[in-house]
Symmetry: C2
Subunit: 550 residues, 2 copies
C-alpha cells in the first residue's frame, strides 16, 4: 500500500505538470510527459489484479519468450527473474517509423529465435554440393523416413483432385479428414469409445492449434503452467498473437526422492508453481503437458498422468496434452498411454489433446495439426480460427489417404521408422558415452537431453551460450537448455532423427567443438592465472602513469 | 484538460479509499473498488494517445466486426453508432465456464457471421442429389473455372514430390515460389522494374496476410480507414487476433458532383473520416483500398489512386491495396492499373499490396495469399507469422507450377475465364433489368452490387435482414449490405461466378423471393391499414373491460 501512495503522489505530480504546462510547450516534451504518466499507469495496473486482466501491457515488457528449435537463447518468462541474460536483450534497440511497437517486438524476437535456423536454411550441408554447410540437430525435425513418405505420397491414390478440394470448406477441416483423424486416434490412442469427428478441429500445424487454444481458453495476460524444460514453440506461438503467459514449473536434474528420476514432474511442484503464480496475482487457466515429453523423452505412466489431471481438476484448470510424439516411442519396453485412452478422465471437458503428423510421420512441411477435445464448446470456438489457419484441400486429401492406410503404416512404415530411431539413438548414445557426456537415456522422441555442464566454467547461461556458439563455429546447430526454459545451465537437446551419414559427420563436429572448447577454456584459465600472478607480483598500489613515466 | 482534472480528483478519491479502507473489508468490495479504479484508468488512457497504443481494452467492448460473405448481419464498428442493430447483439448472452471472454466473443461472432455459410456447407444444392439444397451467391467464391483448374492441377508436372517439400522451409514461403510470385506480379502488374522475391511474403490466404499486417503495422486499438461498402473479411480477420479497428469511410449511392458516380471515393471523404477519427482520439495508422473494389466492382483510375496515395502520404498513413481481383476485369474497355505499376509511388515504404489465387484462379481451397511490399522491414516482420500461417510444401509446389505456366494462363485460362465472366454477368444483369432491380453495372469482380431498397418498407437494416431471410427461405444466400458496413440499407451483393445451370436456378429463387416478399408486405400493409381503420372506428377512450362487461 505504501507503493500505491507513492504512485498516487507521482501520478498527481505528472497530471499537474500536464495540465498546467504552458501552451507553447513543444510536442516532444508533451509526449515525454504522457509516456511517463503511461508507465505510471502500468505500475498502478500491476497492483490491481482484477483490472490487470483486462489490460495488455506492451509485449516487450511482460511476455513469455522461448526459442523454437535450434535458435539462440532469448528471453524467457521475465517473471522468473533468474533466467534472463539481460533485462533488455533487444528492446529499445530497434527504431522503426513503419512498424507498430508489437511489430518491432515480434520481429526482433523472431530474428533472435530463428537466427540459426535461417542461417541453416541459407547454407545447408549437402554431401556433394555443400560439405561445409550447417548440420541442424537443433530443430526437432524428423528426417529418418522422408524417403518412405515421399514414396508413399507419390503413389497414384494420392493425386486425385476434385472441384470440392479446390473450394472453401468447413473451417474446422474437411469432414472426410476429421472423420479419418477420429478413426486414427481411436485406434492408435486405444480409446475406450469411438472418437467423434465433431470434436476434431484441424488447423495448419500444432503451433496454430496451440495459438487458437490459447485464445479461446485465456484472456490476455492469463497463464498456463508449463513444466520445464519444455518445447519452445509454445512460447513463440503465444507471443505472436495470444499474449498468454507461460509460467514455468521448474524441474530439477537432481533426484531427491527414492524411486525418483531426473527432471521428475510431481504434483508438489505443480502446486508450488501455482501458489507462486497466485501470490504474484497471475490468473492461471491451464496446464500444458507434453507426452512423450520434449526435450526430456519421458513417457508418463498412467498413474502419474492421473495425478496431474486430478491436480488440474482440483484447481479448475484446463489441461492441454501435446502428444506429438505418440508414435515415436522406439523402446519396446515402454508403453505410451494416450490421455484419450483413460476410461474416466477427471475432467473430460477441460482435457484437450493435440496431435499432428510433423514428427511421427516426418512431414513437418505439410503443416497439419489436430485438436481433439470432449468439449464441444471449445471445438466450436476453435472453428473460427480455421479462417486464418486452414490447410490446402489437396493436402487434406493426401493426409486422409495417408492416415487411412493402416496396412502401410503398421506393416511398412512404423517398423522401419522405429528401427531407424533405435539405430540412430544407439549410434548417438554410444558416441556420447565414449565422450563421457551424461544424458537422459529414454526410449521416445527424436532427441536426447544431454548434460554439458562440465564444459561450462563458471556454470552460467552465458557460458552455455558460448558453448552453443562453439558448435556453430563447427557448423553444427544444437538447442541450448535455456531455449527450453531449463533452470540449470549446461543442458542441450540433440536431435538424432537424421540419416546415418549426416549423423556421423554431425557427431564428429560435436566432438571437435567440445575438444576445442575445452582446450580454449584451459588456455584462457592459464592466461587468467598468469595475469593474476603478474598482478600479485606488482605493487599493491600501482604508481600513476605520470609517476611511472618520471 | 478540464476532464483530466476531474479524473485526477476521482482517481485520488479512489486511491484514498483503497489505501485507507479497513483491513476487514470484504473481498467483493475491494474488487469493486479496483474495478472502478480500473475503468478510470481506461478513461485516462484514452486521453494519452502515446500511451493508449500500448493498452488493449477488452475485446467485447471496442472491436470492429463484420460479416464474411453470405452471413447474417452482425455488429460492425461500434464506433459508428448508427449501423448496429443493438448495442449487445450477442455479448453477455453466452455463459461459459470453459472459454475465455474473448473466446466467447469470437465464438459468438463466428457463429453469427458464418451461420448461413455453415448451413450451406451442410446442405448444398446438387443437381442430382439435393435439388432442394442451398445455393450460395453470398460468399465470394469463384466457381466458373474450377473444371479448368482441376484439369490443370491434375497434369503430370504437378505431382512431383521431393523430400524438401515435406520439411520445414523458409517461413516467408518456399524461395522458388516467392521468386515465381515476384515474376508473376512483375508481368501481370506491369511493374516498371523487376519485383524482388525478398519483398514477397507468402501465407495461407489473404485473410492471414491481412491479420499479420495488422499486427506489424498497428498496436491494439489503432485503426485503419476503410472505404465502405467493403469486404467483410478484413473485419473478421482483425477481430480474431489483432484487435485493430476498421473505421469506415462511408460512401454514398447518391451522385453529388458532375462526372461523379455512385459510391465514389474522394479525398474529401477520406479527410472527413480521418478528422472524425482524430476527434474521437483514435490513432489511424493506415488506409485499406480494394482495387478492383469488392463489392462495388469499381476499378480505380491511375489519377484517383494517385490522389488516395498522396492523401495517405500527407497524413503519414500506410496504404494496403488489396488487388485480389486484378485478373477478374472482364470488360475489355476497362484497364486495371496495379499500384505496383506506378512509376513513382508517393510513399513506397508505406505501400503494401495483397494478392492471391482464390478469386482470380478459382482455388479458394488452396489457401494462398501473398504480400508484396517495398518495405524490407515490414516483409521481415511479417516472416514471423509464417510460423502460424504457412502453406503445405506440396501446395506451394503446385502453385509455382501453375503461376509459371504463362502459356496456359494467357492462351487457355484467361480467355475462357473472362468469357465465362462476361456471359454470367450478362445473364444476371439482364435478369436484374427485367426485374427492374437497379444495380451498379461494372466490368470487374465476381459480383454485382444491387439495390433492393424498393422492397424495404421502412428502409431500415431490420427490413434488409427480413429480406435476406426471405431469400434464405427460398434456399438462396446473398450478402446484405450491412455485412459490408454499407451506410444505406437495401443493398446486396450478388455473386454471379457460378455455372449457368446453377445461376438460372438461383435467379429463379431470387425472383420468387422478391415476389413473395412484395406480396407479403402488401398483405401486411393491408392488414395494418384495416387495423387502423378498426381502431379509429372505436371510441377514443375505450371503456375498461369491467365497465364493458356490465
Amino acid at each position: 500500500m505504501e507503493m500505491v501512495l507513492t504512485l498516487r503522489q507521482t501520478v498527481e505530480d505528472h497530471i499537474t505538470q500536464l495540465t498546467t504546462r504552458p501552451q507553447q510547450q513543444d510536442g516532444q516534451a508533451i509526449r515525454e510527459q504522457e509516456a511517463l504518466l503511461g508507465r505510471l499507469l502500468f505500475q498502478i495496473v500491476s497492483f490491481l489484479p482484477a483490472v490487470a486482466q483486462s489490460f495488455q501491457p506492451p509485449c516487450t515488457s511482460t511476455d513469455s519468450r522461448g526459442d523454437v528449435g535450434g535458435g539462440q537463447p532469448v528471453q524467457t518468462s521475465r517473471q522468473t527473474g533468474q533466467m534472463f541474460y539481460q533485462e533488455s536483450d533487444f528492446e529499445n534497440t530497434v527504431i522503426s517509423y513503419d512498424l507498430s511497437n508489437r511489430g518491432i517486438d515480434i520481429s526482433a524476437l523472431y530474428h533472435l529465435s530463428f537466427r540459426d535456423y535461417n542461417t541453416y536454411q541459407g547454407n545447408k550441408y549437402h554431401k556433394d554440393k555443400n560439405t561445409l554447410g550447417y548440420i541442424n540437430l537443433g530443430t526437432s525435425e524428423n528426417k529418418l523416413c522422408t524417403d518412405l513418405l515421399a514414396e508413399r505420397l507419390s503413389q497414384s491414390d494420392m493425386t486425385y483432385i476434385d472441384e470440392d478440394l479446390l473450394q472453401y470448406t468447413d473451417w474446422r477441416g474437411q469432414p472426410f479428414l476429421r472423420k479419418e483423424v477420429a478413426r486414427f486416434l481411436t485406434f492408435y490412442c486405444k480409446t475406450p469409445e469411438f472418437l467423434d469427428p465433431e470434436n476434431v478441429v484441424i488447423l495448419n500445424g500444432c503451433p496454430a492449434v496451440f495459438s487458437a487454444l490459447a485464445m479461446v481458453l485465456c484472456d490476455p495476460g492469463e497463464a498456463f503452467l508449463v513444466p520445464t524444460p519444455s518445447y519452445g514453440g509454445f512460447a513463440f506461438s503465444t507471443h505472436l498473437y495470444s499474449k498468454v503467459k507461460l509460467i514455468p514449473v521448474h524441474l530439477e536434474s537432481q533426484v531427491t526422492e527414492a524411486n525418483g528420476y531426473p527432471f521428475q514432474l510431481t504434483v508438489d511442484k505443480l502446486e508450488q508453481a501455482l501458489l507462486g503464480a497466485k501470490i504474484e496475482g497471475k490468473k492461471v487457466r491451464g496446464l500444458v503437458l507434453i507426452n512423450p515429453q520434449n526435450p526430456l523423452g519421458d513417457v508418463y505412466s498412467q498413474d502419474s498422468m492421473m495425478e496431474y489431471l486430478e491436480f488440474a481438476k482440483k484447481y479448475n484448470l484446463h489441461v492441454i496434452v501435446d502428444e506429438m510424439y505418440m508414435l515415436s516411442v522406439f523402446d519396446e519396453a515402454i508403453t505410451f498411454h494416450s490421455v484419450l485412452s483413460m476410461k474416466s478422465l477427471p475432467d473430460p471437458n477441460k482435457t484437450h489433446v493435440i496431435w499432428g503428423t510433423s514428427k511421427d510421420f516426418c512431414i513437418s512441411g505439410f503443416r497439419f495439426g489436430a485438436l481433439y477435445t470432449h468439449n464441444r464448446e471449445v471445438a466450436s470456438a476453435m472453428s473460427s480460427f480455421g479462417y486464418l489457419h486452414s490447410i490446402s484441400g489437396i493436402a487434406q486429401y493426401k493426409l486422409h489417404q495417408l492416415l487411412q492406410d493402416r496396412e502401410w503404416i503398421d506393416n511398412i512404415y512404423l517398423p522401419s521408422y522405429h528401427f531407424r530411431l533405435q539405430e540412430a539413438h544407439r549410434y548417438v548414445t554410444r558416441k556420447l558415452k565414449a565422450l563421457k557426456v551424461p544424458f537422459l537415456n529414454r526410449g521416445s522422441g527424436l532427441y536426447v537431453w544431454i548434460n554439458l555442464k562440465q564444459y561450462l566454467d563458471p556454470c552460467t547461461f552465458e557460458e552455455e551460450l558460448l558453448l552453443h556458439r562453439r558448435f556453430l563455429d563447427h557448423k553444427l546447430i544444437l538447442s541450448p537448455g535455456k531455449t527450453f526454459m531449463c533452470k540449470e545451465p549446461g543442458w542441450f537437446r540433440l536431435i538424432f532423427a537424421a540419416r546415418p551419414h549426416l549423423l556421423r559427420i554431425a557427431m564428429r563436429r560435436f566432438q571437435q567443438g567440445l575438444v576445442e572448447h575445452k582446450q580454449e577454456r584451459r588456455v584462457k584459465q592459464l592466461e587468467d592465472a598468469t595475469k593474476e600472478e603478474v598482478s600479485t607480483s606488482q605493487p599493491e598500489t600501482p604508481a600513476s602513469p605520470a609517476l611511472r613515466k618520471s
